[in-house]
């Protein structure tokens, strides 16, 4: 995996990719702003969401045990997986035990994180992604580039070509005369996948929330592929990060308001499915699966929890709002982050889940301008810039961290890798005036939050010999445009 600056440099020279990304992120960020303005209590919902998540992760042992108890009482089986390999082993074993050799999948970041599809393939099990964007990615032998719209980097022409050439290899081929209108492409996906849904015996999903009090699992989606997978197969296996638990059913009133508006900018996503174990009749009435397995995944989350500054990343509800406002993401694209979690959240989550030993993970904390836009839009108020600076300090200075539950001391990054990475990331923006202009504008709007000295070792080293310039109320470009009224 190349380090972020190298991967990003390649990406910014891909004109199609940049055009696709710019169109998509701008559309969605404008819509989101409108959806949020509709709720006069947005700031209070955001604060409540932050507080619920913080409370839960401080008492994570308690809530996980409660959840296990509730799921078990409702007829489900709970498994605990310390790392990716263990989770893959558990899921593979459960699928093989059903005697089936194919599974349908609901889009899930957790299963991507652990490389489940590859593990299943190695065991002779075909895993079919059923989210339209995931299908595009899977058929195109590609990687997802966005949390919410994984094929955001593909335009309609590219999608038509992928469907035409590849669908036949996986099942029902695309119609001969398939054109590139979104309606025709969606129809082709519907027909291709329906035959899989109707015969599927095993499904694998993630979950957006798990309610400790009741054992209820919650999946939000739009297309209905989630409902298909969660309803029709006989066996349902859900792989969920331990940070997705919330205390009570009532707490959903916060997140069901903030998540859809932050992610797809809708008042509500078209479909939300909630299920509690096997239901009141324990799956005997043919409404939903007759076997339910929940795999609780650690895979670096408890190590993240051990870091007092970094643990706030565990609040993330994967809405992707931070990606859509990030000037670096917009130009570099999701693939440059070299992880299933791209954008600002990926820049703080991946190096914590995986450690900062690899070059890509050591450079991720620099994949940002610290403009603060990600913090502003985050519905659970994760201070991403704060964690970025904290992680930079860790990379540059080394120090104690927790890896696989053990306190270890990491050495400072070799040479000047980190500073070089920072400069390259900065150049990325400086070479591209549009992004810089937007970054400056956000910076101006958030200037009252800026410290006078940068925190962290890297920051201190910088401000020791330099004064951090005050951020002007208006960027120079904006001032120029206003004063010189379009005479540029």
């Amino acid at each position: 995996m190349p380090a972020f600056p190298a991967a990003a440099r390649e990406a910014v020279h891909d004109d199609t990719l940049r055009a696709n990304l710019r169109h998509a992120t701008h559309t969605i960020r404008d819509k989101r702003a409108r959806a949020v303005t509709e709720l006069a209590d947005w700031d209070r919902l955001r604060e409540a969401g932050r507080a619920v998540k913080d409370h839960t992760i401080r008492h994570l042992d308690h809530y996980l045990l409660r959840l296990e108890e509730a799921v078990t009482a409702a007829g489900g089986t709970v498994h605990w997986a310390a790392d990716a390999a263990e989770a893959n082993r558990i899921v593979t074993g459960l699928v093989l035990a059903t005697g089936e050799r194919e599974v349908v999948k609901v889009k899930s970041m957790a299963t991507q994180e652990i490389g489940l599809n590859e593990a299943l393939e190695a065991a002779g099990i075909a895993a079919y992604e059923t989210d339209l964007a995931e299908l595009i990615v899977q058929l195109g032998d590609d990687r997802p580039s966005h949390i919410l719209v994984p094929a955001i980097h593909r335009n309609r022409g590219e999608i038509r070509d992928i469907f035409r050439t590849r669908m036949g290899d996986w099942g029902r081929p695309a119609p001969e005369d398939l054109d590139d209108t979104p309606a025709a492409l969606a129809e082709a996906a519907r027909l291709h996948l329906r035959e899989k849904f109707l015969r599927a015996k095993v499904a694998v999903s993630g979950a957006n929330f798990m309610v400790a009090e009741t054992g209820t699992m919650v999946v939000l989606e739009s297309e209905g592929n989630g409902r298909m997978c969660l309803t029709l197969p006989e066996t349902l296996i859900s792989v969920v990060g331990i940070e997705k638990v919330i205390p009570t059913f009532r707490d959903l009133e916060i997140f069901l308001q903030t998540l859809p508006r932050s992610s797809t900018a809708e008042r509500m996503n078209p479909y939300t499915t909630m299920w509690t174990g096997l239901g009141p009749s324990k799956g005997a009435d043919g409404d939903g699966p007759s076997a339910f397995h929940l795999v609780l995944l650690d895979n670096g989350r408890t190590d993240t929890l051990a870091d007092e500054v970094g643990r706030q990343a565990l609040r993330c509800i994967r809405c992707s709002a931070c990606l859509n406002v990030c000037p670096v993401y917009e130009r570099a694209g999701g693939h440059a982050y070299g992880s299933v979690y791209p954008g600002p959240i990926g820049a703080i989550l991946s190096p914590q889940l995986r450690g900062t030993a690899s070059e890509i993970d050591a450079t991720l904390p620099y994949a940002s301008t610290l403009c603060g836009a990600c913090y502003e839009v985050c519905p659970v108020a994760i201070d991403i810039p704060e964690v970025l600076v904290h992680l930079r300090e860790r990379v540059v200075q080394g120090g104690p961290v927790t890896r696989e539950g053990l306190r270890v001391r990491i050495r400072p990054a070799a040479g000047h890798t980190a500073e070089r990475a920072a400069m390259r990331a900065a150049r990325l923006l400086l070479d591209h005036p549009g992004a810089l202009r937007r970054a400056e504008r956000v910076l101006a709007r958030t200037r009252r939050f800026r410290p006078h000295r940068l925190p962290g070792a890297a920051g201190r080293a910088w401000t020791e010999t330099r004064d951090l310039p005050p951020v002007p109320a208006e960027s120079f470009r904006d001032w120029w445009t206003r004063e010189r009224g379009g005479t540029r």
Binding site: R58, H59, V149, R250, Y271, G405
Partner: protein, 225 residues
């Protein structure tokens, strides 16, 4: 040591406060600020129903209004307009609702025609009631009650007609809806028909769920939930 014990031990080392029960101490569950609104705006019952209708329509559901007398005719008309030859019927859908339609009734659970997903795929339409509806978000909630049937019957047919008693089954907001729902039941929240925005963020209605959602607001005058 089992992975469960290992994970729990790591958590307890990472957050020593975790040893304190969540009901006590500085970060008690009860201390979570909940000064957000339980409803956004004040509405009369009529305005609430109008808002529900507007929000449903914005997400491309087709909204109709009628009363008990007009319902059988309306349902018969909607099914005929679709050319529906067969209609799925939940176990306790009021018999009078489908009194006027010619379409063949397929009874959920009772009929072999509804036994497998592939068989359900050959049914044209489905008519159900609902548990409640949320005006502010344009959402219908199904809980598998006797007038709604199993989850799969509102999923596989391409045409779903959902009847909502108004104003009785309509609440303003999500915070008002949750206390009325039983999490032990299978809950399906529906806001408009199936849709995707995965292709250049252009919204397309209808991928895997029903491509047409018709909502009938049935005036009963009964305000009780």
């Amino acid at each position: 040591m089992s992975s469960k014990d290992r994970i729990l031990a790591r958590i307890r080392r990472a957050v020593p406060a975790g040893a304190v029960p969540p009901g006590a101490g500085p970060d008690a569950y009860a201390d979570i600020p909940r000064d957000y609104l339980t409803v956004h705006g004040t509405r009369t019952a009529e305005e609430r129903v109008d808002l529900l209708a507007a929000n449903l329509a914005e997400y491309r559901a087709i909204v109709h209004r009628t009363d008990a007398e007009g319902l059988p005719q309306l349902l018969a008309h909607l099914l005929a307009r679709r050319g529906a030859a067969s209609v799925l019927v939940p176990p306790a859908l009021p018999g009078a609702w489908l009194a006027a339609t010619e379409a063949t009734r397929v009874h959920d659970r009772a009929d072999a025609t509804a036994a497998t997903p592939a068989a359900l795929d050959r049914v044209d339409s489905v008519v159900t009631g609902c548990a409640l509806a949320i005006a502010e978000t344009g959402t219908i909630v199904l809980d598998g009650g006797p007038d709604q049937g199993r989850r799969r019957i509102t999923l596989i047919p391409d045409h779903h007609i959902c009847v909502i008693h108004v104003p009785g089954q309509v609440v303003d907001s999500i915070p008002q809806a949750l206390p009325l729902l039983d999490p032990a039941r299978p809950l399906t929240w529906i806001s408009g028909p199936s849709a995707t925005s995965d292709i250049e963020l252009d919204r397309v209605e209808g991928v895997h769920g029903p491509r047409t959602l018709e909502v009938v607001l049935l005036t009963t005058g009964d305000a009780a939930q």
